[in-house]
Amino acid sequence: MRFLAEEKLEALLHLLAKSSSLWTPTAIEDAAGTVTFEPWKPGTAPVLDRFTTLSAKELLLPATEKLFSFTYSLSEGEESVEIEPEGQTGETILFGARACDAKAIKVLDALFMQPAGEAYGDDQYRRRRLDLTVITIACTTCDAACFCSSFENGPAEKSGSDVFLYPVEGGWIAEGITDRGGDLIGGDSFTDSGIDPPELVVTRSVDIAGLQEKLPEIFANIDFWQEATAKCLSCGYCTYTCPTCYCFNIFDEMRSDREGERLRGWDACIFNLYTRETSGHNPRPTIAKRYRNRIGHKFSYYPANQGETLCTGCGRCIRGCPAGLDIRDVLTGVKEL
């Protein structure tokens, strides 16, 4: 184990920011206490005593991103079109993720990093992911929305992290999880340490065992889903702040008469427009049916297809839901059926 002294933090951030794009949890001004991961600016202290409002998924799946640009041109009466794919990304370091944020990356990797040949994976995700280093702050406290202890390893989950920093008096005990992380904490900002890492928090736990099989079994129980989602506004807060909700839309925007871009941007299965077809037919026309799909996807379909639960218990959907809907109550309700 290594040790990072509190007073060495700023120097470390300076060092990291030299070679990489460094993102830290940042308090946003005039934003009702919002904390988000933002590119680090010298002089700003990372916010490490509060949870971020948005997850870190935008580092891998930006809210909108260009897939490619295109240009129509006319030469000698012949129309032609050029397609220019988006270029390379650079090294990125995420400092101040939580174990649930880092685990979420691992969970998304299962789909987006599938090897070419077996499935398609995602080219732009893959490039960003390979260039990403995650420095996680271990949780010694939690709030009433946290429920990561529902999942194997809970707050001690290391997957997705390159470095684990355990808060202790005067700084952090640093553990290298990957080779990349080991190299990083081998640097001069860190010193050797014999201190034991502190006890991690235990959050509330929801019994998720058996949901993969149970959810398809109770699919047809629409009364349950209607009751469970009666207060849902289908506003998308949960999906947009969720670290593992990855649904996206693809659309074109023209930048001039002849030039444009094809973009992809966040979308959500909780929206009516998401699955509505041009004919007007919608396989999931009600909030109950859409929320059922969201829960099914997270706790049954994704586990069946990718071997990972599409939830890490970060609690963002609970903290922010304007209607006070608690996913844990729904899951418990499913178990009790």
Binding site: D30, A31, G33, K231, G236, Y240, W266, G324
Partner: protein, 320 residues
């Protein structure tokens, strides 16, 4: 809680269910619920954490006859929905609640003290997580200069009993600039900004917009929802990029579509994941509408929104 339980019981006789609040055991605050029976009604609560504007559900429940518990501000939304024909008066039974001391900004409390921190509002004092705090600091922004404590529409009328009844909300004229969400301080700074500064301020704010449309979905008056002009592909009014320019377009169009219709409930701001102070914009617009047309949305069942009825030949701009 006997008032609300009895009122709900009576209303249940004429309705399919009642929209109200029950206690969330985990956090000790009110959460929205549907009440179908007297048994369920016994679980109804009414306190200073009943922040949600339940009127947002009404346009989606056209198939049912619905009872609804409505604070003074929520009642304004119901009135405006009826005025605009989005809700039929005959199909909604309102348990009006005269709000005495305003609602607590639960979101702000928890963003500062941690989600689920125990809120004890005795009426005389507020404590969060066992620590006594200044109650006035944690009032919802809209409650600071509330002019709608008494519901303008109701089939039953009850008074908020219990926590907070005897303490009066402070007015926005005070020197209090330490609210956790900085609402007051922000308003004062914003008012002092020159036009160019305001533009820059909003550009900065809208640069955070992730285009989730939670503001729209949480708004009782944004009942166009899935046919919202900001998401139609034909015509393609607004681009899908999450940049300040496109998001500004989307947000300003939404605000403009609410001119003379917004009842100031603040649900858009409460729902916004990235904390954009939308009520600063809507509140300003509401003031302008009131100055120009002497009109406050949702205060009169017989009145028509000036911008929905403006006749270019015969009407003149109010205030010259």
């Amino acid at each position: 809680m006997t008032d609300i339980i009895e009122a709900m019981d009576r209303i249940l006789k004429d309705t399919d269910f009642v929209l109200g609040w029950t206690l969330d055991e985990d956090t000790g605050v009110a959460e929205p619920a549907r009440f179908h029976s007297s048994e369920q009604a016994a679980q109804a609560v009414l306190d200073s954490t009943c922040v949600h504007n339940l009127a947002v559900h009404l346009p989606r429940l056209k198939e049912s006859t619905v009872g609804i518990v409505a604070k003074g501000c929520d009642a304004r939304s119901i009135v405006q929905l009826i005025v605009e024909g989005a809700v039929e008066r005959e199909r909604v039974k309102v348990i009006g609640v005269t709000c005495a001391a305003g609602m607590l900004d639960v979101k702000a409390i928890w963003r500062r003290h941690g989600y689920g921190a125990r809120i004890d509002d005795t009426g005389d004092s507020l404590s969060v997580g066992g620590d006594r705090v200044d109650r006035n600091e944690y009032l919802m922004g809209k409650c600071r200069d509330c002019g709608a404590a008494a519901p303008v529409i109701h089939d039953e009328l009850i008074e908020m009993s219990g926590p907070g009844r005897d303490s009066a909300p402070t007015s926005s004229g005070g020197s209090n600039d330490t609210t956790p969400d900085g609402t007051l301080a922000l308003k004062q700074r914003f008012d002092a900004m020159p036009a160019a500064g305001r533009r820059a301020f909003w550009r900065e704010q809208f640069s955070r917009c992730i285009r989730c449309y939670a503001c729209r979905e949480a708004c009782p008056m944004c009942f166009c929802r899935d046919v919202c002009t900001m998401q139609t592909t034909d015509p393609h009014w607004a681009g899908g990029d999450t940049n300040a320019r496109e998001s500004e377009m989307v947000q300003l169009v939404r605000v403009n579509h609410l001119a003379g219709r917004c009842t100031g409930c603040g649900e858009c701001e409460r729902a916004c994941p990235v904390g954009i102070p939308l009520m600063l914009l809507l509140g300003e617009q509401n003031n302008i509408i009131e100055e120009m047309f002497d009109y406050r949305a949702g205060t009169d069942l017989e009145a028509k929104s000036p911008l929905l009825t403006f006749d270019i030949k015969n009407d003149s701009w109010g205030g010259g």
